[in-house]
Amino acid sequence: MESASFELETSDEFYPRQLQDYEEAPELLFGRGDPACLLPGVALIGARNATPYGISAATAIATWACELGLTVYSGCARGCDQAAHRAALAAEGRTVAVLGCGADVVYPARAAGLLDRIAAQGCVLSTYDWGTPPAAYRFRERNWLIAALSQFVVVVEARIPSGTFSTVEHALSLGIGIAAVPGSIFCPGSQAPNRFISEGAVPLTSREDLCAAVERFLPQVTVDLVMRPTDTATEQGCTDELLRALVAQPSTPEELSAALGLSAREVALRCSRAEIEGSVERYPDGSYGLSQSELLLRAR
C-alpha cells in the first residue's frame, strides 16, 4: 500500500503545535500518511519482550485513548508498542508510529504490514531523511520525539534498566506527565512502572484513571466520564479459584496444583476446559495465563 509522503517544516500548517514550544524541536519532519493526525495525544511505551499482561494493558489503554479522541503515539517496536498501534487501528482511532530510521524504511522488518496500515489510517513519522538506516543511537533520539509529541507518557511494562527510561527522562525534562500501569511485584516486566508509580507517576488501573489523567494533562480535551456498567461475567469469573490464581501471574499446572490443592493433571484439565471457554490461554512455554479477552473484560 503506497501512502502519501510528506515533509513538514516548522512553519507548516500541520507541524505539530506541541513541538513548537521546544528549542530542540527538529526543523524538518518526514512522514508517510496523514500529517493532520499529529494532534495532542498520549504516548504508550513499553518493553519489546512484553508479557501477555503488558500486551493486554497496552491494548486496553490504546483503545480507551482512541475512544476519548486522543492520538496514540508509539515506536512500532515489537511487544507493547505494536499492541498499542494495533489496538488504535482496530478502534479506528488516530495513531502515529515514530521511527528511529527513515519514515520509508521498514523496521522492524516483521512490522511491514503494520507500518503500511498505520500510514493508511494515521501516519509514520521520523526526523531522519528518507532512506536513513536504523541505528541504536537514533532510537534514543526518536524517544525524545515520542515524548515531545505527547501530552503524557504511559509506561506499560519495562524492566530495570531498559530503553523505556530514556523516553521517561526526556518526558521529565520537557515537563510532560508520566503515567504507568502497575503490575505484579514478582514480575520483572512490571519493575519499572511500579517504580515510577512509587516516585509519583499516575497509576493507570482503569478507564476512569485514564480519563482523570487526560483531564489533568490535556485540559483542552473534554472527557465524558461515562461509567461503563460492570460486567457481571467478570464478577462471576472472579469467584473461580483457578482464574483468581492465574490473574496474578501465568503459571504451570504443577505450580498451580500446590496453590489449589489439586493434582497437576486435574489442574491441567481445568486449564484446558477454561481454554476452550476462552478465559485462559496456553503460553509457548506450556504455562497457562488469563487470555487477552479475559484480561480486557476485567479492566474497567
Binding site: 519489546r48 519482550n49 515489537r78 516483521r110 520483572p188 504451570t252 499446572p253 504443577e254 505450580e255 500446590a258 493434582s263 497437576a264 493433571r265 491441567a268 484439565l269 486449564c271 484446558s272 476446559r273 481454554e275 476452550i276 471457554e277 476462552g278 496456553r282 503460553y283 509457548p284 512455554d285 506450556g286 504455562s287
Partner: protein, 496 residues
Amino acid sequence: MYCELRTATLSGIDALPVDVQVHVASGLPAFHIVGMGDVAVKEARQRVTAALRSCGFKLPNSCITVNLAPALVQKHGTGFDLAMALGILIASGQASVDRASQLLVLGELGLQGQVSTVAGLVSCARLANEQGRILMTPHPEQLEGIIACQTIPIEHLSEIAQLQERPVKAVARDEAVSSGGLDFADVAGQSRVIRALCVAAAGQLSVFMVGPPGTGKTMLASRLPSIMAPLSREEFLEVALVASAMGRTLDDICAQRPFRNPHHSASPVGIIGGGSPIKPGEITLAHNGVLFLDEMPQFAPVTLQALRQPLEEGCVRIVRAQESVVLPARVMLVGAANPCPCGYYGDKEKRCHCAPAEIQSYQNRIGGPLMDRFDMVLYASRPPLEELFATRPKQRGLSSAELRAQVIAARDYAQDHHERPVKELEREELCSETMISPAALKLLQRSAERLLLSPRALVRVGRVARIIADMQQSELTEEEHLIEALSYRVSLFERS
C-alpha cells in the same frame, strides 16, 4: 567338473538369491572370481584356498572360475565363501553333498576352515523358506524363536562328510520382557508427562517434549519401551530382520521394542539409510519402536526434513543408480527440545536471555510440516525439590509394569471395538455417533473455533481423545477425554 550352489546377498534388509557357479577345467592353474563382487568377495580367493588346504583338501591344479549369478548385480560381503569352497570340492569330486541343489549356503570361512555367521541371517532364512530350501549355516540355533526353518548346521569345513539336517522352530521366546533396568518408578514427579506418554504409547503416537534443561526429557523418553505393548510375532521378526541385516547378534534381541536416540550431529544417510551397499538408517533400526531425537532443533534441517516422508508412509524408499530398496520405518517419533536457545524461556528461577526473534528461529528450525507430524506436545517443567527427595512409596509414581498394563488394556479394547488402529481413524469415523458423545462433539466443534484448530489438528485431537477413552474402556469419547486431549494439542507455532 561343474557345480552350482544357491546363496544370497543382501539388498537393504532383503535377501536376493545368488547362484555360485563353479567351473573346474583344464588349463593353466588359476582361480577367478567374477560377477560384480566387492573387495570382500574378491578376497574370498585367499580365504577359500587357505581353508581348503587347512582341512586337508586340495585346490585342483586346474583353471577354477567362480561366477556369481546374476552377474550384473553388485555383491557384497563374505557370505559366499562357504558356497565357493563347497562348490570347488563338489566340482573337483573331492566331496559330495546330498541334495546340493536344494541348499541355501551361507557362511564366511576362516583360514583354518572354521565357518562363521554373516549379516542378514534372518533375511536368508526367510528366503530359504520362500524357496523351500534348506539353510546351511553355522549356529542355526540362533534363529530359534524368530523364524521356523530347515537347517543344516556347519561349524567347520571339515564336517562336510557328516552333515545332518536340523529343524529350527519358531516357538516364541521367553515372554518375560526385560525392561533393560529402566522403570518409570525411578522418575521423580512429572506425573502429568508420564500420563501423557502412557496415552502416546497406547496409540503409538508421535510426541514432542518441551522443557528447560534438566527436566528429565531423556530419562522419560528412554523408559517408553518399558510401557509399550510387547512386540507381536510379526513385529518381532521385522525387528530381528533389521538387527541381523546390521550384523548384530540375534541373542540380545529381546521382546522389548527398540529405542534409538541418535546424536544430533547425525547425517541424513545415518538417519534415513543409504550408502553403498545401502544400509538401514536409525529410523529403520527403530522400526516398531521409539526413535528419540533429543535437542531436535540442533539436528541439521535437511536431516529433519528427510524424516517427513518416511514418517508418513511407515517405510523409507532409497533410490540409487545401482539399486533401490524399501526399508521398514514404522516408528513412534519422540522429539525433545528446550523452549529456546538458552533453555530457560518460561523458567521461574532462571532468566531467559534470548531475544524473541532467536526463540522464533530456534523453534522454526524444526519446520511446520515436520511439526505437523507430531500428535501431542508435552511440557515438562522442573520438578520441585520435595518430589525429587520423595522416598515414601505413596508419593512415587506408577511403575512401568502398571503403566504397561494400562497400555495393553487400551490396545486390547481398541482392537475389539475399532476396525483399524486409532492412529489411522479419520474425521468421519471419529465424529460418528457410535464413537463420540453428542456433548463431546459439540465441545470439539467449539474448541476448533476457539482454538483455531486446523482440520488436521482436529483429527489428531480426536484420535488422542479416542485413545484416552479406550484407556478407560469407554464406548463413546466423552467431554473429559476430549479436554485432556486438547491439553496435549500441538500449538507451538500458533503465535509469533
